[in-house]
Subunit: 159 residues, 2 copies
């Protein structure tokens, strides 16, 4: 079975290179980007401006291959790719929550972007704390490694 | 540009019909399901059992068409599809956070499932509060509508 998607738009950010990028949107505070949705889908954006935060689901378009075990940016040990957020996944799909600043026609101004410039956008969903905030019991290998994500930037390990 | 994904596995749940389902995983507390990852990807599950909550990204395989404006289950007004979590999206992609109970080989036992039985799985990512919990300023049209999601079930509106 093949699942086939067409980008609904494009994400523009200041990041032209994989190296030196924030590794999560929480480590990209204040970094501005633009989401341009294809004009044919503009009507689908109705009421989106009521939300302060949205999910962007996108394609890691510069990720050519995958590995089943990876050394993620936060650690120097190998972990199964599905227990990481690394881009080298069997299906190269990325997920970020960004701050929505404005919607003008088919263009969204956003903040806290952590993806490459030119990233193809697959979907937008509203972020709703009653649906999306969970109390967890454990965070596996990331325990004690996520507090300083502002300071951690990507390197070339997934080139 | 076409984006092509292959399912990495399948999600089995008690839900054979679209009608009467929980509308979010937070409204599906304790409902058990199984995620069977293809054997060729088993190694990618290494260390996943360390996490109590995971994202499942999946294909709404029973969603044939899309609408740019929809009446979501929580409301009787039309909203742009991207400001809802409705399945009738240009790219029929779904996102749920479920509780991970166990990992045995390539099979995950999970709880809080809100998807149809037989749903094709596209990706798994760990849920990490430091990356995934955001303070929001506003939740748009969903304001005051999300507290009782336990009581709200799907109906046939997206048939």
């Amino acid at each position: 079975m093949k699942i086939s998607y067409e980008p609904i738009g494009i994400i523009n950010t200041p990041f032209k290179l994989k190296k030196g990028m924030p590794i999560q949107s929480n480590g990209a505070k204040g970094i501005k980007g633009t989401v341009t949705v294809k004009k044919e889908y503009s009507e689908g954006l109705k009421d989106l401006e009521g939300f302060s935060h949205i999910y962007l689901i996108y394609h890691f378009h510069k990720s050519q291959n995958y590995s089943l075990t990876v050394k993620p940016f936060l650690d120097n040990n190998f972990h199964g790719v599905f227990s990481t957020r690394a881009p080298q996944r069997p299906n190269s799909i990325g997920l970020s929550v960004v701050k929505l600043v404005s919607v003008t026609g088919n263009v969204l101004e956003v903040e806290n972007v952590d993806m490459l410039d030119g990233t193809p956008l697959i979907d937008i969903k509203p972020y709703i704390p009653d649906f999306d905030v969970f109390e967890v019991e454990k965070v596996g290998w990331t325990n004690n490694k996520t507090e300083n994500i502002d300071a951690i930037k990507s390197d070339n390990r997934f080139e």
